[in-house]
């Protein structure tokens, strides 16, 4: 298309807007008293992040972000919020002063630090030249198929990452099992058998 025809400033605009939306959404999420509203603002933020992914050339990932993260995870959140009727409770934002101050201080400090680190530039990034999937030094500019599922798939199943991927899948299974156990509420002192016997006793 005509992307390359935009000026540098022009290219910044979508990114700036998306970024702004993300940040504002985050701020709003944290500050809403109504938890449901907060969750919805988080969805907004996540979608904004997906847009940022697109601007980074990772379109497949953007889709995943929307479908899985904003879609499944946040829906789960909303389910639980509604289930627990947590949205109704008026919990104040402010609490004992000391912790608030400390938290904000650290947060700001972290922010400054990161900004400083990035501003300091390339000296902080002493990482070796990146390698492409097949081992040859990659060009600085991503190849054309950078964000496609194929490229991601190649990287994901490469010897470097496949083990991690398998582990993560195991993690998902474990999480599932854990959730089931927690939801069911395992009771150890009431096995099924006495129930049967009780019924037989009642009958007989």
């Amino acid at each position: 298309m005509g992307m390359t025809e935009l000026t540098a400033a022009g290219r910044l605009v979508p990114v700036a807007i998306a970024g702004l939306v993300a940040v504002v959404g985050a701020l709003l999420m944290v500050s809403r008293r109504d938890v449901v509203r907060g969750a919805l603002w988080l969805v907004v933020t996540l979608i904004a992040i997906a847009v940022l992914y697109v601007t980074l050339g990772a379109e497949f990932l953007a889709m995943i972000q929307v479908i899985v993260y904003a879609g499944a995870i946040m829906v789960l959140f909303l389910f639980v919020i509604v289930l627990l009727a947590a949205g109704r409770e008026p919990l104040s934002l402010r609490n004992t002063g000391m912790e608030g101050v400390a938290a904000v201080t650290v947060a700001l400090g972290m922010l400054l630090l990161i900004v400083f680190a990035t501003a300091a530039g390339g000296e902080l990034a002493h990482t070796p030249a990146p390698l492409s999937v097949d081992g040859t030094p990659a060009p600085a500019v991503p190849r054309s198929g950078y964000g496609t599922p194929a490229a991601i798939g190649e990287a994901l199943f490469s010897p470097r990452n496949v083990f991690t991927m398998e582990l993560v899948s195991v993690l998902l299974v474990a999480a599932m099992a854990g959730v089931i156990v927690l939801a069911k509420g395992l009771r150890r002192d009431a096995p099924a058998r006495p129930e049967h016997e009780r019924r037989r006793a009642d009958a007989g």
């Binding site: 912790e99 400390a102 650290v106 630090l113 990161i114 000296e123 902080l124």
Partner: protein, 622 residues
């Protein structure tokens, strides 16, 4: 074989049971000691027959630590043989005496147990082949002395006396231990024989200090200046104890130590001179104090100190044989004197003040003549045993230092004087005892009489082993162990006879004065006190030595001890420990406050930590 004496007494010593037959215990104890004597005798013969200089027997390796190897070993040589015979023989007699003396005492069994234990320890001391084993015996006799002095522990004065004896002894023991360690450093061995061979290895300073330290130990055990204060108090114990331990055996351990280490004391750099001077001064000092005492046992106690001083004098000038000779004769007559005193006390219902006695001569014949014989012996009348031994000492002193000799001579005068005073006031003249007590005063039972007889006889004839000149059996016997003594033999026979005559004359003077005061007059004591005036008070009060010690030594030390126990220990030590605990507790309690249990607080902490970490990372790379 060598263990005979030690074992014999040891078995009985450690085995007091509650048999109904008390007498059986006593007899058993006597038998054990008697057995010890017989074995000693046998060994004596054996040693002579074997032609060896000494026999060493090792029983087991006691300490093996690196290059240090100490056996539990005993050695039999002429010196230890002499000591064994004396110790076991006299001990046996005293055991027999005790059968009668302690017959009515409740703690009869305990007495014999301790008495035997003591005998065993003493025998161990004299037969030890090396210093650590000797130290076992050394401590053992000290312990038994404490137990026996404080035998009637219900009596306050007795237990205090025992305590005093032990503590004063301890000072000496400190000297022994340090000297022992120094010996190891200087000679590389603690075996007595080996040490003698290696005398050349040590430096002069080593020798000087070692001999001084051992002298300290000896003054503690043998009651010399400055550690003699315990002996008079030790008279609180039963009389047989006084006889055995504080006259014949334990107190001689110090003398034995010095003589045994003659290789060290012979060295020119040694403290032998100090030994001699301490001996002479003690001899004189104690003799003066003896004049002012009215308690029978006290007089004898100071007499012992004085006579021990003579032995030290002899050892100090190098006349080792003379020292041992006097040791033996002293054992005879002093034990006899003490037993006699016990006999008298028994008859007078435990009266000990001689100013309240008198005219017992006819009532107690055996006691009287043995006491008389021993008194004459200690005074030094020819041809009794004491004469020869004392004279030899004086001769040796004369050869070494005229001043020392003069002191010894003065002491001889005083010895004669106070002993005769004791004799006269107790046995002669008019009686000062209450009539009904006097009526019932009688001679002691046979168990007490026989030992008296034996010892009295020995006091008379004991000198035969040490006749001057070529008849000196003892010297010939001890020759292998003791070197040729310096200044022992006066140059000419004429001089020797002259000295003998002089000392005899001095002694006779003393006797004459005593007789003039106490035999012929009734108010002798008052006369004496008047004549001497204030000096007499000083003598009576023992020159205030005890008071001096109390004020300058005991007082400050006990104040320090009390300060430590009442202030330092609770406040500082407990304070530190408790303070530490409290501090830790406080610290912990402070820490606990950070455990709020609230997740958000923990989250803040974690995030702060992460921030700091990131900070470090960034700063590190910049």
């Amino acid at each position: 074989m060598l263990a005979g004496p030690a074992l014999g007494a040891l078995i009985n010593g450690l085995w007091p049971s509650r048999l109904r037959g008390r007498v059986l215990h006593g007899v058993l104890a006597c038998a054990a000691t008697g057995l010890a004597f017989l074995v000693a005798l046998l060994q004596h013969i054996q040693l002579g027959a074997s032609g060896q200089e000494s026999i060493r027997q090792s029983y087991f390796t006691w300490i093996a630590s690196g290059p240090l190897r100490i056996d539990f070993a005993l050695r039999l040589d002429p010196l230890s043989s002499v000591m064994c015979l004396t110790v076991s023989g006299v001990a046996f007699l005293i055991h027999v005496y005790s059968l009668g003396y302690m017959a009515r005492d409740k703690a009869y069994v305990r007495f014999f147990c301790f008495l035997n234990m003591f005998t065993a320890a003493m025998l161990l001391l004299v037969t030890a082949a090396n210093l650590p084993v000797m130290f076992i015996g050394w401590e053992g006799v000290g312990l038994c002395s404490y137990l026996l002095i404080g035998f009637w522990h219900a009596r306050d004065s007795a237990s205090r006396a025992g305590f005093k004896a032990f503590v004063v002894n301890r000072v000496g023991d400190f000297g022994f231990i340090v000297a022992m360690l120094w010996c190891y450093k200087a000679f590389g061995t603690l075996d007595l024989h080996e040490m003698a061979a290696r005398v050349g290895h040590a430096s002069a300073a080593d020798i000087r200090w070692i001999t001084l330290l051992f002298l300290l130990a000896a003054t503690g055990k043998s009651a010399q200046i400055p550690l003699f204060v315990w002996l008079p108090d030790a008279m609180e114990g039963p009389t047989p104890v006084s006889a055995l331990i504080h006259a014949a055996t334990m107190v001689t351990a110090g003398v034995y130590l010095v003589v045994r280490l003659n290789a060290l004391y012979h060295h020119p750099a040694s403290a032998a001179g100090v030994v001699a001077w301490i001996g002479a001064l003690t001899a004189l000092l104690a003799a003066t104090i003896a004049i002012g005492q009215n308690d029978m046992k006290r007089v004898l106690a100071y007499s012992t100190v004085s006579q021990l001083g003579y032995m030290f004098l002899a050892a100090g000038v190098g006349a080792y044989t003379a020292a041992i000779f006097h040791l033996v004769t002293h054992a005879f007559f002093k034990a006899c004197l003490f037993l006699g005193a016990g006999s008298v006390m028994h008859a007078c219902h435990d009266e000990q003040d001689i100013l309240r006695m008198g005219a017992l001569r006819n009532k107690m014949r055996v006691t009287h003549w043995t006491f008389l014989a021993s008194t004459m012996s200690i005074a030094g009348i020819v041809p009794l045993a004491g004469f020869f031994s004392k004279d030899e000492i004086l001769a040796g002193a004369f050869g070494a230092n005229k001043l020392l000799w003069t002191l010894g001579l003065a002491g001889a005068f005083l010895t004669a004087f106070y002993m005769l005073r004791l004799l006269y006031l107790t046995f002669y003249g008019n009686t000062r005892i209450a009539p009904e007590v006097y009526q019932r005063a009688h001679e002691s039972p046979p168990s007490m009489r026989v030992p008296l007889r034996v010892l009295g006889t020995l006091a008379i004839v004991g000198g035969l082993i040490g006749l001057p000149g070529s008849w000196h059996m003892l010297r010939r016997y001890l020759e292998p162990v003791l070197p040729v003594e310096t200044g022992g033999e006066p140059p000419s026979a004429l001089l020797e006879v002259g000295l003998m005559a002089l000392s005899l004359a001095v002694v006779l003077c003393g006797i004459w004065v005593a007789s003039a005061l106490f035999l012929r007059r009734v108010d002798g004591q008052r006369c004496l006190e008047r004549r001497l005036g204030e000096v007499y008070v000083a003598l009576r009060r023992k020159w205030w030595v005890d008071e001096f010690y109390m004020a300058f030594v005991v007082g400050p030390l006990s104040t320090l001890a009390r300060a430590c126990s009442d202030w330092f220990d609770p406040k500082v030590i407990d304070g530190t420990v408790n303070g530490l605990a409290a501090a830790v507790g406080g610290l912990a309690r402070g820490q606990v406050r950070s455990q709020t249990g609230r997740i958000r607080d923990y989250a803040i902490v974690i995030l702060t930590g992460a921030f700091i970490l990131a900070l470090c990372l960034v700063l590190g790379r910049v």
